[in-house]
């Protein structure tokens, strides 16, 4: 068995885990082993730097609340498998529909024709409808790239690949809108990055895009909260509106929204609204980190 490393002794000594008979050995180690002295001095500095700071309990409570309510994302490989499965299903559906004769060139405008023949570049004439597509491999690849969500969206895919419809109709399907091409999760990541890098304007624009363009997504409440917090300093009125919407919608962010509402109302001098928000916070979330501060503020008469 190897003797204990001097730096291990230092680590245990700093946690008060040395047995009385080990203490002289530790002291000797500090005077004779430079490495132990170095580690001791380094740990000293790190401990000083990571001491508990005022407000840490609030910070931890906030982080725990956000993480507990945030939907845990599925692993990437799961998403990829799901996309692949969707693509395979899509190609299968199209091939099935094609072989069953559901698509006919006369009945279906060019924009709404299935992907498979359009991609292969050699549309099967009507007399070959029963045959398999000429190049299923390439069709699958293109389907994954454009990934229409269902067979019903096929016309959009075709429009995207081949320009405007042949009959001149304008494309009004939501799938054609550019904003649909970026997912709310990607937008939220970009917005958070912009916020971290201090690009407040960009962050606000991106958060707004999520709030307005993807209102039903699970990222929307988080984006609204972040937007409201960004606005709170410069435009408390606008921030208040966002906090009110969030608070009214309930959910895991309600406590934070109520606190934001109280803060903005205070800045705007709306005493009654501030009091109402603080009361709600105390009654609905009595154990939250905000409740304690809210109680104090109520006791001070809102001062």
């Amino acid at each position: 068995m190897n003797p204990e490393e001097p730096t291990d002794l230092v680590c245990r000594a700093r946690r008060g885990q040395l047995r009385p008979e080990e203490v002289p050995g530790f002291e000797r180690c500090l005077t004779t082993v430079p490495e132990a002295r170095l580690v001791h001095a380094i740990l000293d500095e790190f401990e000083g730097e990571s001491r508990v700071q005022p407000g840490d309990d609030t910070l931890v409570a906030r982080i725990a609340a956000r993480a507990a309510t945030s939907p845990a994302r599925r692993p990437r490989h799961f998403s990829q498998a799901l996309l692949t499965a969707l693509a395979v299903l899509l190609v299968g559906s199209v091939a099935g529909a094609w072989s069953a004769g559901l698509f006919t060139p006369s009945a279906t405008p060019l924009a709404c024709q299935p992907v498979v023949p359009a991609v292969s570049g050699s549309p099967s004439p009507p007399h070959q409808r029963g045959a398999a597509p000429a190049s299923p491999g390439s069709a699958a690849v293109v389907s994954v790239v454009s990934l229409a969500p269902s067979v019903g969206r096929l016309p959009d895919t075709a429009v995207a690949s081949h320009g405007p419809p042949a009959d001149g109709r304008a494309c009004v399907e939501p799938a054609c809108a550019p904003s649909r091409r970026t997912s709310p999760a990607e937008l939220l990541a970009a917005a958070n990055l912009a916020r971290r890098e201090g690009r407040s304007g960009d962050a606000q624009r991106l958060y707004r895009t999520i709030v307005d363009g993807h209102a039903a997504s699970r990222e929307a409440p988080v984006a609204r909260l972040a937007l409201a917090k960004l606005l709170a300093g410069s435009a408390p009125g606008a921030a208040l509106a966002h906090f009110e919407v969030l608070a009214a919608s309930g959910g895991g962010l309600r406590a934070e929204a109520l606190w934001g509402q109280a803060e903005c109302a205070r800045r705007l001098g709306r005493v009654a609204m501030e009091r109402q928000a603080l009361d709600a916070l105390v009654h609905e979330f009595p154990t939250s980190a905000y409740a304690e501060v809210a109680r104090g503020r109520i006791a001070d008469g809102g001062r």
């Binding site: 068995m1 190897n2 490393e5 730096t7 291990d8 680590c11 245990r12 700093r14 946690r15 885990q17 005077t31 004779t32 430079p34 490495e35 002295r37 170095l38 580690v39 001095a41 380094i42 740990l43 500095e45 790190f46 401990e47 730097e49 990571s50 508990v52 700071q53 840490d56 910070l59 931890v60 409570a61 982080i63 725990a64 609340a65 956000r66 993480a67 507990a68 309510t69 945030s70 845990a72 994302r73 692993p75 958070n192 971290r196 895991g252």
Partner: protein
């Protein structure tokens, strides 16, 4: 097994009963209340790790800790109980914080050095020389800079041992690596640390002190 028996007396948190385990199991099963309680219990440990790795004045401490909390929630289903829940959380925090530092390091290295306006009077007297800059660097900053440059495996064990104060046995359990591997990685990392410390006047003095 050999590792656990050998270091069992020194790390009761690892070998003994883990009081956070039931909470972790409930959180892994999707219980939101348990998740919140667990994260509140782990929070101070996570903050401590993030602050030690990034520095307490780093602007991203809160964001990174938030990222750590989300990662823990995501990873709980894969937690097998090889170490305590606290150590599991600390390891996740360590990885996320180290990845943040390394991203910053890569970004900074990719950016061209800003060209300061040339001023004879300023450069003649007021600008600190490179020696003074080295002296001004704290021990913590020196270790962090070293960890940015070391291979990831060495940086991990060095951080666990020298920054977070875990013994080698604990490092082996937390890093899920054989003890001898940890010992070898730590030996190389400590050599680099000693070499770096000898370049710092204050630390050199500390190293050369005799009884």
């Amino acid at each position: 097994m050999l590792r656990l028996v050998r270091f069992g007396d020194r790390s009761p948190c690892i070998a003994g009963e883990d009081e956070l385990r039931p909470l972790a199991d409930a959180a892994a099963a999707g219980d939101a209340r348990a998740t919140r309680t667990l994260l509140t219990a782990l929070g101070p440990h996570l903050l401590r790790v993030v602050r030690r790795v990034l520095g307490s004045g780093h602007p991203e401490v809160e964001d990174v800790t938030q990222e750590v909390a989300v990662e823990i929630v995501r990873a709980l289903s894969r937690f097998r109980g090889d170490c305590s829940v606290v150590h599991f959380g600390c390891r996740v925090a360590l990885h996320v914080a180290m990845a943040t530092r390394r991203r910053e390091f890569t970004r900074k290295r990719a950016l061209p050095e800003p060209i300061a306006a040339f001023d004879d009077e300023q450069t003649a007297s007021l600008r600190p020389g490179p020696e003074a800059e080295v002296t001004a660097q704290s021990k913590a900053a020196l270790v962090r800079a070293l960890c940015d440059e070391l291979p990831a495996a060495q940086a991990e064990v060095l951080t666990l041992h020298v920054v977070l104060g875990h013994t080698m046995g604990e490092v082996a359990v937390i890093a899920a690596a054989p003890l001898e591997t940890v010992r070898s990685r730590l030996r190389l990392a400590k050599q680099a640390l000693l070499a770096r410390a000898l370049g710092d006047p204050e630390l050199r003095e500390l190293l050369e002190e005799t009884a």
